[in-house]
């Protein structure tokens, strides 16, 4: 199969589908489902069933982004982007007849439900990773192919050598989206150079940071995109087996990924002799079981091997000695989702987006005390102020902004004074926080920073795997000190001890969990030291 054959296949699928000029899309991602999207979908489908064949189409799609206004419904021409659609918010099953009428030829939008699609939340986003989210039916293999899916994989397999694929990824300047920001191309070429018969590709979907739900949304909205990225990676590095390690807390994402793998296998896009080439690639899902530390790559591999998820010292890095001792490529969900467009559009295209050292876009999960809670994708280098006040709509109830927390329990809090900083890997580091996987939690004036630091320390204390002493005992002691401070029973000496402990744990822990556990304390001390001092006896 070459690109022309794939295009023919897409045309055939489009003819078979016989779609009307406008379709009705219902967001069926986890958040909208929890606010009652399933009955809305049923009501719309029921109303649609009464109409003539091919006159109306209702489909369930993935995340449209504005989770706080769910259930969301969009009316748009097939394959049209979200900002060209008419979007309805907080839809109930009773609204179905009106929405169906508006989707019929000549129908006027239902103004009382309308959510302006030119509002900054939709208009200011730049969707690359989420390009298909909220448009494609995640359970439909055909839907993905109709939108140009798998073209990148077919192109790589039939027109490019593995080295050329690695070169494109290197040229794109893509950096790991899991938080570390390691150059993806460099990682790929290291694994590609390993002289081994057996290599593995792993997709890290163990999104454990509290307040982060980007990877879940990608998997729930467009699972084929991730599989395609993994297959391209496997081809580039010479692997024939892949694992997706996903949290068991995301049942819907697991279900959709399983469906996607099954359908891709049946169509010959995963498995042996993919698309009639010599390339074989099989994917298996491995479920996590609620251990945050398994997001760390060596712990994750231990968990895939069926062991306790405890990390081991690096080097040797997984690229050299990974799963069952074989060279292994581990990337995050969002990183893989970036691969297909890089192959199709060329590495230079992605390199033209973003800042000097951070290329492309980044998906963020906006949560906390903010008007527009949800999922956004913006260019690297967008300022925090734009993200929070323009796209996010600011703080509700007229309260004042206090800080935004990024990077989860490994990150820190950024105060008002630094909101004009463009967001990329390096600028956030200078602020004492990190990009992390992309969770952004906005806090208003009612949040107390000592409590916030204690909350994260409690998290790290619970999640410490217990293998190395600095992390196991250090997090416990730091939590004790923070608790003492929060309750107003601490002295200056306690604060000094806390700061000393932070340094020790940072410097001596085995893995990222321990090394970064003090970050929330250090960053709140840096910007909100007075809140600590007010509480000292």
């Amino acid at each position: 199969m070459n690109l022309d054959d794939l295009e023919d296949l897409a045309v055939k699928f489009r003819d078979d589908a016989n779609e009307p000029e406008t379709e009705v899309r219902v967001c069926m991602a986890a958040s909208c489902q929890s606010s009652g999207a399933a009955p809305v979908l049923d009501a719309l489908r029921g109303g649609c069933g009464d109409k003539a064949e091919g006159a109306c189409k209702v489909k369930g799609v993935g995340c449209m982004g504005l989770c706080s206004a769910g259930p969301l419904v969009a009316v748009a021409p097939p394959a049209a982007a979200l900002d060209e659609a008419v979007i309805y918010r907080e839809v109930s099953p009773a609204d179905a007849p009106e929405i169906l009428a508006s989707a019929a030829p000549g129908g006027a939008p239902v103004e009382r439900l309308r959510c302006p699609s030119d509002m900054p939340f939709f208009a200011r986003q730049h969707k690359i990773v989420l390009a298909n989210a909220g448009i494609v039916d995640p359970d439909s293999f055909r839907g993905y192919v109709m939108l140009g899916g798998y073209a990148a994989m077919v192109q790589a397999l039939t027109e490019m050598t593995p080295q050329e694929v690695v070169n494109e990824v290197t040229a794109s300047g893509l950096r790991g989206r899991g938080g570390g920001g390691y150059p993806t191309g460099l990682k790929w070429s290291t694994v590609a150079k390993m002289p081994a018969n057996q290599k593995y590709v792993i997709c890290n979907a163990d999104e454990g940071d509290p307040g982060a739900f980007m990877d879940r949304a990608v998997l729930e909205s467009d699972p084929h995109r991730v599989l395609e990225g993994m297959a391209i990676a496997a081809y580039a590095i010479g692997a024939n087996k892949g694992y997706v390690y996903i949290r068991a807390e995301y049942p819907l994402a697991v279900e959709r990924l399983k469906t996607a793998i099954r359908k891709a296998k049946r169509a010959g896009f995963i498995g042996n002799h993919i698309c009639e080439t010599q390339f074989n690639f099989d994917v298996e899902i491995r479920l996590g079981a609620g251990a945050f530390v398994c997001g760390e790559e060596t712990a994750l591999m231990a968990s895939i091997e069926g062991n306790r998820g405890q990390p081991r010292p690096r080097p040797p890095y997984p690229a050299e000695y990974g799963l069952w001792g074989s060279p292994t490529l581990i990337n995050n969900v969002e990183t893989y989702a970036n691969i297909a467009p890089i192959i199709t559009e060329g590495g230079g295209w992605l390199a033209g987006i973003g800042t000097e050292k951070s290329k492309g876009t980044k998906v963020f999960a906006l949560a906390g005390t903010i008007v527009n809670t949800g999922l956004i994708e913006v260019d690297m280098g967008t300022t925090l102020r734009d993200i929070i006040f323009d796209i996010g709509g600011g703080i509700p109830d007229g309260r004042a902004f206090k800080a935004v927390q990024t990077g989860g329990p490994s990150g820190g809090c950024v105060p008002e004074a630094h909101l004009d900083m463009p967001v990329d890997y390096d600028s956030l580091k200078t602020l004492g926080t990190m990009m992390g996987s992309g969770g952004m939690i906005v806090m208003d004036e009612t949040s107390n920073m000592v409590d916030v630091a204690r909350f994260f320390m409690e998290f790290c204390m619970d999640e410490s795997c217990g293998k190395c002493i600095p992390c196991r005992a250090g997090t416990q002691q730091m939590h004790g000190l923070l608790d003492k401070i929060a309750k107003g029973r601490a002295s200056r000496a306690d604060l000094a001890l806390l700061e000393e402990l932070c340094e020790v744990v940072q410097a001596t822990s085995l893995c990222g969990l321990g090394q970064t556990a003090p970050n929330p304390v250090l960053s709140t001390l840096r910007y909100f030291r007075h809140e600590y001092e007010e509480k000292l006896g």
């Binding site: 929890s34 999104e207 068991a248 609620g290 069926g306 906390g368 809670t373 939690i441 994260f456």
Partner: protein, 166 residues
């Protein structure tokens, strides 16, 4: 020469053991699919007891100590029977900011159980989770597998009482 081991018999006639066995067979009784096997046991029985862990250990040819070690490492695996209803309070950052601790306190006050505990009549288990990813609905609670959001402590207790009464 490799010796063909015989697989252990199912512990009882309970049909749920067949589900567990099928899950292990699907992975070729591979030792590295231990976590998958434990998930299968927990899905079927709701928790892992010694009998189940011994059965899994024998089937996968692993020492029981390893199975116990893995089962106790991961938070999702329960070693005690759970109540008829499970209420998981999300304590992720977004939920924390929006008052998850008030929910936990409210439930504790009304039902007398803290996270990780089950009421004496086995009607309700309260658990806490580290972010269920429903930050848009904060504070979020997963009640018997369904995510419900934006509830205050009083509304949550009321909802729980309804569920228990049914």
């Amino acid at each position: 020469m490799t010796l063909q081991r015989t697989r252990p018999d199912l512990p009882s006639n309970d049909k749920r053991w067949k589900l567990v066995n099928a899950a292990m067979r699907r992975n070729g009784y591979a030792g590295h699919a231990l976590i998958e096997a434990l998930h299968a046991v927990q899905d079927a029985f709701g928790f892992l007891d010694e009998e189940a862990m011994t059965f899994v250990a024998d089937s996968l040819d692993l020492p029981l100590s390893k199975v116990y070690g893995v089962a106790t490492f991961y938070h999702l695996f329960m070693l005690k029977p759970q109540g008829r209803h499970a209420c998981v309070v999300c304590t992720g950052t977004a939920c924390y900011i929006k008052g998850a601790s008030a929910l936990i306190e409210g439930v504790q006050e009304r039902f007398g159980v803290a996270p990780g505990e089950t009421t004496a009549d086995k009607s309700l288990s309260v658990l806490s989770a580290r972010c269920v990813g429903a930050c848009g609905l904060a504070p979020a609670v997963v009640l018997d597998g369904n995510v419900i959001g934006r509830l205050g402590p009083a509304q949550l207790c009321e909802r729980l009482e309804q569920e228990i009464a049914e």
